[in-house]
């Protein structure tokens, strides 16, 4: 049976159209993102590893080498088993630093454009035979199915179609930071197609040719040499070599690197891929023996490399042959698309851009996009040219392994990336050049010799013969051993012989995660707008604007950001993002040129701490043993500080905020993110002054401050302490604890008001009596008045009535003044310290005396005011009167009828000390220290609230003064008895 060429080509076009639709649906969001980003979709997209070599060539490989063909899959299994220590670190690096290809990775680690160029050229050289292999597999499969030589134009048409596809779905976005959802979906779809096709053919081989597994086993029993030929390969010398080659190829081949790292949508999908990809490959590989044995049993005339098609043709079912063919097209097209995309990105970043950077007037994005498209076309064309050059001189497997040995040359470099910080660019470049030289000598020159392009084999044949005699190995072990030996030796020797540059040390720290120090220096550009301005000169205005905007958005920063440490982070972020656009080396060059760092390297404690915390957070799952325990302890201490019910602020030696806990965030409304690294003097008002002034005040370690936040008055107590490192001389900064007293203050104000009302209640009887007397006088005078009285008598009576009325008004006015909460200089929630005025204390004492005298009990106490009219303090008159009322009331309560209570004042530096003395029963020594405690009273129940003295104490403290008890005063009888209260208040004009 054979098929017609026309329908087959139509099938290719139809299949690629279907692929186009899948990719388009993915890109347009018609396919659920959950499906595209699913770990199994990611795994299937990694199935791009299985190309037409695997699809067709494995059967031929199995026929000639037996189970040796399994090494190509088993090497992948071993590499993916090492996901946590091999693939995950590379994925982290590529994601964090926007590295999209092996060339980016090596150029970033070794800080060398030459390394990037060399890797790109070597990758290109290694990939071209592989691309040629795919094109040849498709054209040869057409020949098998049509049983005639297909015209070359078909291969060309296939290449053109794939080029268009690769451009449409791989080089479509302006920004390379965006993932190609459609591409991932399409490649996963291709993997499904080739798996289904190969299993379909194997199913026919098993059930159509052998009548099931039993039939196959019967055939194997009858033909033991077939099974023996299969098991033979496992014992041959190439087994370990091919395992190593497949191990390297599984993540270093351009297409693998691209799908594994650059197109990874969710990093943790790698965990699923670690077992699911080997399982996918197992399913592909298990189809090989049945197909091979069925072909042998049926004595198919097709070449072993194309037994898959031969079996399908043997079925006599055109649809099965078509399915088998489409599976092969799928394997080849997936490889071609992804490889050309990956190579075009490398060529652009490491060959084209460094050679001719676009004019800033041009749109860099557009330039990069079209550059990539052009390169895709050129790479496919080069692969096609290679196909013509080497036509039919090498088997499919031979061309594939050529590429595998090439990418294995990057293994020593990878060791330097992940594990060996001491590796240098000289070592990497030297090793790669040496390894590549051996690769060319041992594999490429014989290839060219076989193709008739060179006359000599340059001694390879003789050396290989000697190797075979010595080790029993073949050309692959020969080439792999000597190239890797040369490479690794040069890599290690040159690395140890040379010193890494500062940039290399920094990059090695980033790669190996062994550096816990943040980068040094601050950016000279002081605002994001200046960043845009500087970058515009190289990137062009639009690109610069967009890149700065993106970097700000990535970091959650504001366009008005001015904090030096945040601007340094912004600079690093821009470098990372640009790395995805123009490669790591050019990105670094652009940033170093336009966003220069200040000459004096500087690093604040806040930066260091935050950098270390970030690094520790990222490395948490890698910490083991003591390090993990210490990290837990660190987290515990941090949580304690963060959740402390008091506001905690730590500042470094440069007064920058190092710690800003949750409570202070709630109190201030300034988030931790906004405050960290910010010098305290640049915090938003009123916190700049509040914290800055407190830090400046070397004398006090505890202060009470009132601040207005919005429309609200708030009271805070601030405590501070130095953080000193006992092992070092320099200061570790200071820590400030902030206690919000607003609630307490409000309660005190309410209590004060209640106490005033209670005082009025206690005065009520006296007040009634005081008002009753003048009322009686008014009443009597009025009754005695007669129309017959003369004008003088009436005037006299009227004057008496007015006089008595004034007495009543004064009493009422005094009561009203006292009852009020002091609206002039206080708020409902306590005193307004900023509204304090000079108060003449003698008037205040008089008023208090008048009030207390209203009380019946106090009537027989003699109050004496010795306070001079010049005694003036800064404060709230109403509240000061309340202090005096409370003290005089207590004095009156303690005194006997006829006793004196004296009030005097003395100057004490810039304060006045008012003394309130009585000669009552005094206070026993054992309760002296309790009398200022709330609700503590020595009076009978119902006689006192226990709030008078505590409130007086609080009010005096609010005025910046103190209330204390002095020695018992000397009474007129010469004995010391009673009590003296001392009210120390700042003199007017000296406090605020």
């Amino acid at each position: 049976m054979s098929l017609e060429l026309g329908p087959l080509f139509a099938a290719i076009v139809a299949y690629l159209t279907l692929l186009f639709l899948v990719a388009y649906a993915g890109d347009r969001g018609w396919l659920p993102e959950r499906l595209i980003a699913h770990p199994l979709t990611y795994t299937l997209s990694l199935g791009v590893y299985a190309t037409s070599w695997t699809y067709y060539g494995s059967v031929g490989f199995a026929q000639s080498q037996g189970y040796l063909f399994l090494t190509i899959y088993l090497g992948v299994t071993v590499a993916f088993a090492l996901t946590p220590i091999l693939l995950a670190p590379i994925l982290r690096l590529t994601r964090e630093y926007q590295l999209h290809s092996p060339a980016d990775l090596f150029a970033f680690r070794y800080r060398s454009q030459a390394a990037g160029v060399l890797v790109t050229l070597f990758m290109l050289a290694g990939a071209l035979p592989y691309i040629a292999l795919q094109i040849r597999a498709v054209t040869e499969s057409l020949g098998i199915l049509t049983q005639e030589a297909p015209p070359r134009v078909l291969a060309l048409g296939f290449c053109v179609t794939l080029t268009v596809f690769a451009i449409l779905f791989g080089a479509r976005h302006v920004s390379p930071r965006e993932k190609h959802l459609g591409l991932v979906g399409a490649i996963a779809f291709e993997s499904l197609v080739k798996l289904a096709a190969l299993l379909g053919v194997a199913g026919y081989a098993l059930f159509g040719v052998f009548d099931g597994p039993t039939g196959m086993q019967t055939w194997l029993d009858a033909n033991p040499e077939a099974l023996r030929a299969m098991t033979r390969g496992a014992l041959e010398g190439e087994w370990f070599t091919l395992l190593v080659l497949a191990f390297a190829a599984s993540f270093l081949l351009p297409r693998q690197f691209h799908m594994l790292f650059a197109e990874s949508l969710r990093p943790n999908a790698l965990r699923t891929a670690a077992w699911a990809l080997p399982l996918f490959l197992l399913l592909l590989a298990i189809a090989v023996p049945p197909v091979l044995w069925a072909a042998q049993a049926a004595a198919l005339p097709t070449p072993p490399d194309y037994h898959v098609l031969g079996i399908a043709l043997h079925s006599g079912e055109p649809w099965l042959a078509l399915v088998a063919f489409i599976g092969g097209v799928s394997a080849a097209s997936a490889m071609l698309i992804v490889t050309t995309l990956a190579l075009s990105s490398m060529c652009l970043n490491h060959l084209l851009l460094p050679a001719s950077y676009p004019d800033p007037q041009l749109n860099v994005y557009r330039w990069v996009l079209w550059g990539r498209r052009l390169l895709i076309a050129l790479i496919v064309a080069a692969g096609y040219g290679f196909t013509l050059l080497l036509e039919k001189h090498e088997g499919l497997v031979q061309l594939g392994l050529l590429s595998f040995v090439a990418v294995a040359q990057f293994l020593p470099g990878i060791v330097g990336v992940i594990y060996w910080p001491r590796a240098t660019r000289a070592g990497f470049i030297g090793g790669l050049v040496g390894g590549a030289g051996v690769w060319v000598w041992a594999l490429i020159l014989p290839l060219l010799h076989n193709a008739g392009l060179t006359l000599h084999d340059f001694g390879v044949g003789a050396a290989l013969a000697e190797w075979q005699t010595m080790t029993g190995g073949g050309k692959w072990s020969f080439a792999t051993f000597w190239s890797l030996a040369m490479n690794a030796t040069l890599f290690a020797t040159l690395s140890l012989a040379t010193r890494p540059s500062a940039a290399e040390v920094e990059a090695a720290g980033a790669c190996c995660r062994n550096s816990l120090l943040p980068p040094m220096g601050f950016v000279e550009a002081a605002t994001p707008a200046q960043f845009v301005n500087q970058l515009s000169r190289i990137l062009g205005a639009d690109t610069a604007q967009l890149e700065v905007h993106n970097a700000l958005a990535d970091l959650g920063l504001d366009p008005g950001e001015t904090r030096p440490s945040e601007l340094r982070r912004l600079r690093d972020r821009i470098e990372r993002n640009l790395s995805g656009l123009i490669g790591p080396q050019l990105a670094r060059m652009v940033v170093e040129q336009r966003l220069a760092l200040s000459g004096a390297p500087n690093r604040t404690l806040a930066d260091t701490m935050r950098f270390m915390e970030d690094k520790l957070e990222q490395s948490r799952s890698q910490l083991r043993g003591l390090a993990a325990e210490l990290d837990q302890l660190r987290r515990y201490h941090r949580e304690v500080l963060q959740h402390l019910p008091l506001g905690a602020v730590a500042v470094g030696a440069g007064r920058e905020v190092v710690l800003w806990n949750n409570a202070i965030s709630d109190i201030s409304g300034i988030s931790r993110f906004q405050a960290l690294s910010q010098p305290v003097d640049t915090l938003p008002e009123p916190w700049d002054g509040l914290l800055g002034d407190f830090l400046d005040d070397a004398d006090s370690e505890r202060v009470k401050r009132q601040v207005r936040i919005g429309q609200q008055q708030r009271w805070f107590t601030l405590h501070k302490a130095s953080i000193s490192d006992e092992r070092e001389d320099d200061t570790g900064g200071e820590v400030i604890l902030i206690e919000d007293l607003t609630g307490v203050q409000t309660l005190e104000a309410e209590l004060a008001h209640s106490e005033r009302l209670a005082s009025i209640g206690r005065l009520a009887a006296g007040v009634a009596h005081e008002i009753g007397n003048p009322l009686t006088g008014i009443s009597s005078t009025a009754q005695l008045m007669s129309p017959d009285d003369g004008p003088d008598a009436i005037r006299e009576s009227a004057d008496m009535i007015v006089e008595q009325s004034r007495r009543i008004r004064d009493i009422v006015q005094t009561l009203v003044n006292f009852a009020h909460a002091g609206r002039t200089a206080s708020t409902d929630r306590g005193p307004d310290l900023n509204a304090f005025r000079p108060v003449a204390m003698t008037g205040c004492v008089d008023e208090a005396m008048r009030l207390v005298s209203l009380s019946r009990d106090a009537k027989q106490i003699e109050f004496r005011n010795h306070v001079d009219t010049g005694v003036r303090v800064q404060g709230d008159r109403q509240r000061l009167c309340q202090v005096l009322v409370n003290l005089l009331s207590n004095a009156a309560d303690a005194s006997q009828p006829g006793d004196q209570v004296e009030i005097s004042a003395d100057a004490d530096a810039d304060h006045w000390v008012l003394r309130v003395r009585d000669h009552g029963h005094g206070i026993p020594d054992d309760i002296r220290e309790h009398i200022f405690e709330p609700f503590f009273t020595t009076k009978d129940p119902g006689q006192g609230t226990g709030l008078g003295l505590p409130l007086a104490f609080s009010i005096v403290r609010d005025h910046g003064g103190s209330l204390s008890i002095g020695d018992p005063p000397v009474a007129p009888d010469g004995n010391a008895r009673g009590i003296e209260f001392r009210i120390r208040l700042p003199a007017a004009g000296l406090t605020s």
């Binding site: 189970y67 088993l74 299994t77 088993a81 390969g233 496992a234 965990r271 399982l279 799952s621």
Partner: protein, 77 residues
Amino acid sequence: MWRSPSSTPQSGFHYDRVVLVLLASLLALSTPVVAWWSRDGVAWYLPYLIWLGLIAMIALALRGFRVDIEDEDDNPR
């Protein structure tokens, strides 16, 4: 949520497992054990069973493993 210092690391992942899987892989794939499973008379699918066993070991070993990446929301852009 903070856990006491004596508890296991947050990820619950142990790197020892990776070493064990690597050793098992090396034992099964690059020592004379290869000669054992590819000798005459064994079932043709034995290599695939061994391979399947390795895959199961990988899946078990990687339970609890997470890729820690800075600034990642684990969502595609």
